[in-house]
């Protein structure tokens, strides 16, 4: 069972919901929390412990200058501008390389081989006996966001209850995270922005035909457009979180509210069970 926690953009409280939900459900289930927001992974900030590390790489070309005849074939092939053949050398921009392997195939002299370049890391830890955290982190300056997400996904077991903290937006990274999920919990705010972003992420879930529900954060703002949208599209609103300085403070200092406050723990357990019920599982 895979449940994605997503939002049209960051900062809507998506990570807060993911972390609290994972902690609350871990009292009754074997839970894996997968941080797929690899450009800004934040889940790990809420748990301590020494994780195992796995380096994620993607192949980039390496050119044997003795074998290269500067024929230019690789440079005119590469659609990403990652190779340019000058009169005296081949210029490489590994940060533009999409690792398609084309240059290696087209080089007539066999001068190109592929070497691994670091795209990111996956951290694996077990903050609690019934809670595993798999967290992906994109290497700064790398463009291989989906490579790192795929690496995180490889660690997820179908039979476990998996919560995925999805990257914001409707980009390819969000798609990569959402595509095999059974359910998506969309976190938004009752503002014109929140509504706009909610419609975007809702469109993605419709492409994949994933059942969804909504959590409204900062629910005390006087704007009911989001509620109207949810009613119109038959989206159940499962939780409303009012703005609260205590929550904000806790969040800011890396504490988990449902770990501290029994009322909130109860609310998140209920949220989790509702999600599971909506997916048809128990």
């Amino acid at each position: 069972m895979q449940i994605a926690i997503a939002s049209g953009k960051g900062g809507t409280g998506k990570t807060t919901v993911a972390v609290n939900l994972a902690l609350a459900l871990s009292t009754s289930h074997e839970v894996t929390l997968a941080d797929c927001d690899v450009e800004e992974p934040n889940c790990h900030l809420f748990f301590s412990g020494h994780p195992d590390e796995e380096i994620v790489t993607n192949p980039v070309p390496e050119i044997d200058t003795d074998a290269c005849t500067l024929c230019g074939t690789c440079g005119s092939f590469c659609r990403y501008g990652a190779l340019i053949v000058l009169t005296d050398r081949v210029l490489q921009y590994p940060q533009l390389c999409h690792s398609c392997g084309g240059c290696e195939i087209v080089c007539p002299t066999g001068a190109i081989s592929m070497r691994p370049e670091k795209a990111g890391v996956v951290h694996i830890s077990k903050p609690k006996p019934s809670l595993s955290l798999i967290s992906g982190t994109l290497e700064e300056g790398s463009i291989h966001t989906t490579t790192v997400i795929k690496a995180v996904r490889r660690h997820l077991l179908r039979e476990n209850l998996v919560l995925l903290d999805a990257p914001p937006g409707s980009s390819c990274a969000a798609m990569e995270t959402l595509k095999d999920c059974d359910f998506c919990l969309m976190v938004t705010e009752p503002t014109p922005f929140g509504l706009h972003d909610l419609t975007l992420i809702h469109e993605v879930t419709e492409i994949f035909n994933i059942p969804t529900a909504v959590v409204i954060n900062r629910s005390d703002e006087k704007n009911n457009d989001v509620d109207m949208y949810c009613t119109a599209h038959n989206l159940p609103v499962l939780m409303r979180i009012p703005f609260d300085r205590t929550i904000a403070l806790m969040q800011g200092s890396g504490e988990i509210i449902s770990g501290q406050d029994p009322v909130w723990r109860e609310r998140f357990v209920r949220l989790g069970l509702q999600c599971l019920a909506l997916t048809g599982a128990r």
Binding site: G8, K9, G10, G11, T12, T15, E39, E40, N42, L45, F77, R79, Y80, Q95, H98, S99, C100, G101, G102, I105, V106, L138, E140, G141, S142, I143, T145, P167, P168, G169, S170, S171, C172, A173, A174, M175, T191, P192, F193, H196, D197, L200, E203, V204, I207, E221, K222, N223, R245, A248, L249, Q251, G252, S253, G254
Partner: protein, 289 residues
Amino acid sequence: MIQIAVVSGKGGTGKTVITGAIGSLLSGRVVMADCDVDAANLALIIQPDIDTTEPFFGMDRARIDTSLCNLCETCIESCRFDAITRHEDYVQVDPLQCEGCGVCEYVCPSHAITMVPHTCGEIRTGHSRYGPFIDGSLFPGNGNSGLMVHDIRKRAREIAPDIPLILVDGPPGIGCPLISAVTGCDIVILVTEPGSSGRHDLGRLVTVCRSLRSRMMMIINKADLVPKGTLALQESAKEWDIPILCEIPLDPGITEATRNCEPFTRKKSQATVILKKAVDHLKQDLDLT
């Protein structure tokens, strides 16, 4: 032409609200370009009239002519993105997985594959009471946000060459679109808010911006929310040698204005006064006065 990008790494720090407010303070001398192409929101605040909407073509996508294909599956073996699947009596490209690299076209022995243009979003140009406006949106699940950001910035430079300033509302994250948005900007304004995750993301963002040789400035939003957090941000800023342009407190005026879909600087409030001073400072710095 001076280019300023407003970025935040993590979303929800009020980046777009602040971009809109800065834009309104520079009214008449600024082209605003929303490069947050996965969730373009600046128009909600700036309320531009849209003059043109044009399709945006991302990377080409592979197309297979099934009448020429002999089902040898060479393409499937060569595609590093698992974008081609074998069905009973045909092979098919999934346009959402295809990255347009052209490898399959090259390896196909029966020349059954061609690369064709692929519309993956729209770019809109228009004008608001503050000046020319451009934004773009990708259709859900389409990559190439970096390419689109590049295109939006190019159009921003062309749309009004006599306007001295381009203000870019940057995308979140530190990946490809962010790099496209920041490359070549004269100033990058980092909008941040206190809190442990805010600082963590900021560090990664600073590393990327620094590698692009950008001159950075910082705005701390909601600065009075977590005083300890703000202190920590000030320390980090000092450590990174990044000047703090201003600190904006939690201000009901901002929430109110955002709900009404306008820049908060149109009404007088504590936040307005602070930001106005900061922008005046920026103008002086850039010789725009």
